[in-house]
């Protein structure tokens, strides 16, 4: 698994990249109450704001970690946004994307580096 400085995790699965937010991010956000997911089939560019997460405190954006196409979104989160707090690394993945350029993956952190990053 890889991690971005935006507190997203990326996991390779059957040639796709599954994206979610880290436990640290979910703790910082507080109780998540609303998630606006991208549409399946959308072409996205790295660092583009593609999701909105609203917690009891504020709204935050999720950036596309790579160039590519959104092939699947986790629509369960629309009805159960609190899953992001309960299981951020498992059930509460946000979307799966088909990357067109995997090279940024090398720049992202591994788990040990991410742990150090969040201190």
């Amino acid at each position: 698994m890889k991690f971005t400085e935006e507190h997203e995790w990326l996991r390779e699965e059957d040639g796709l990249i599954v994206v979610g937010i880290t436990e640290h991010a979910s703790e910082q956000l507080g109780d998540v109450v609303f998630i606006d997911l991208p549409e399946e089939g959308t072409e996205v560019t790295k660092d583009e704001e593609i999701c909105v997460i609203e917690s009891v405190k504020a709204a935050s954006d999720i950036l596309a970690p790579l160039d590519g196409e959104i092939v699947e979104v986790n629509s369960m989160l629309v009805d159960e946004p609190s899953k992001v707090n309960d299981d951020p690394l498992g059930d509460a993945w946000f979307f799966k994307m088909k990357p067109s350029d995997l090279s940024p993956m090398d720049d992202y952190m591994d788990e040990a580096e991410y742990k150090k990053f969040v201190g």
Binding site: D31, V33, F34, D36, E54, V56, K57, A59
Partner: protein, 371 residues
């Protein structure tokens, strides 16, 4: 940033694992490990303890205190019985609201609780208008706690059984944990509960005594805000301010008949000409409840439109959040009076999209006071 002030409970907040944030010049707990959502729900289901020591406590003494206060607020102070409290607001010459407050008749004096962010200005305003005939005493050696929720009565009655006999908006002097406290049956959550002024050196002991009841959890400012918004209560500086009149703010229930046109002590407060004219003729805009139809919260500042497309903004959201008890987003804001009927379909613009929102009855969750 200027140095933040600490309440007498500061060390206890840290010990309880609170996340602290700056608020009105104080370092205050925004949430404890339970988190905003669970703290909110716990307060509605059992009881919550809030540190509101940042708020201003003021005593007015002297024969002319009630009449003097009536020159600054459009409420009936003279007619307030001993042992009773009332909601009020300081007005300005333009009919706007300078602050809102609670005031109580405690026999030989009036006791006021004002907002933290306005307290210095309020004290200056009181001194300017009332001294030297009335003594204005700014209390800085007492903390203020709020105990709120359906289990508040049983929790506080363990320390002093007589508090169970108090009704909503009663005030009394009560010995709690061996110290003299000034207790009112009131709060800012829509729940039954008490607000307790306690000498600062006894504040931690009293807080710990209350928290030792398993029904009572500490609650931070985060849940305080969602609780008061569900209860339809205004937050000064957001839902009401110096440019908002009490008539626009739908707070006319707080202006007693005796201070209105035809009343025995009509007018004679700041901005009376404007406010009494508005009471007679109506206003162009009103504060209303707003219920977004989807799940997206409409935060403070969200612009409100009459239609799904085109047109200028007709109003804006002044408070907006997710309601944990409501299980959905909720907001308050100002809209033109002709669009303020309950059920009116409007649109809030969130991230460039017009989302449907309906004018809704306040409060969003029923009040649970002990009348």
């Amino acid at each position: 940033m200027a140095d933040l002030r600490q309440t007498p409970l500061y060390d206890m907040h840290l010990e309880l694992g609170a996340k602290m944030v700056p608020f009105a010049g104080y370092d205050m707990p925004v949430q404890y490990p339970l988190g905003v959502m669970k703290e909110h729900l716990h307060c509605r289901a059992a009881a919550g303890l809030f540190d509101v020591s940042h708020m201003g406590q003021v005593i007015l003494r002297g024969a002319g205190a009630a009449a003097g206060l009536e020159s600054l607020i459009p409420q009936d102070v003279i007619g307030l019985e001993v042992g009773r409290q009332r909601y009020g607001f300081f007005t300005n010459a333009a009919g706007g609201i300078e602050d809102d407050l609670m005031f109580a008749n405690r026999g030989d004096h009036l006791f006021l609780v004002v907002n933290a962010g306005c307290k210095e200005a309020d004290v200056a305003r009181l001194r300017g208008a009332l001294e030297p005939d009335v003594t204005v005493e700014y209390i800085e050696d007492r903390a203020l706690l709020a105990l709120q929720g359906p289990a508040a009565e049983s929790a506080l009655a363990k320390l002093a059984p007589e508090v169970a006999d108090m009704r909503f908006m009663d005030v009394a002097t009560v010995t709690l944990n061996g110290v003299e406290c000034w207790v009112s049956r009131s709060g800012y959550t829509g729940e039954d509960g008490y607000e307790i002024s306690v000498p600062e050196q006894a504040a931690v002991g009293l807080a710990r005594a209350l928290l030792s009841d398993e029904q009572v959890e500490p609650i931070g400012l985060g849940a305080r805000d969602s609780l008061r918004l569900e209860a339809g209560l205004c937050l000064y500086g957001h839902d009401i301010d110096a440019a908002t009149s009490p008539v626009e703010a739908a707070l006319t229930w707080g202006i007693q008949k005796v201070r209105r046109a035809g009343g025995a002590r009509a007018g004679n407060f700041e901005g009376a000409d404007v406010i009494l004219a508005q009471l007679a003729d109506g206003v162009a805009r009103k504060r209303v409840g707003l219920l977004p139809e989807g799940r997206a919260p409409m935060r403070e500042g969200t612009e409100i439109f009459a239609g799904a497309e085109g047109g200028e903004a007709i109003g804006h959201v002044t408070s907006g959040a997710f309601g944990p008890t409501l299980q959905g987003p909720m907001a308050m804001g100002y809209v033109p009076t002709d669009l303020s009927q309950i059920g009116t379909q409007l649109f809030g613009e969130v991230r460039g999209k017009r989302l449907p929102v309906k004018v809704a009855k306040l409060p969003f969750t029923p009040a649970n006071f002990k009348r």
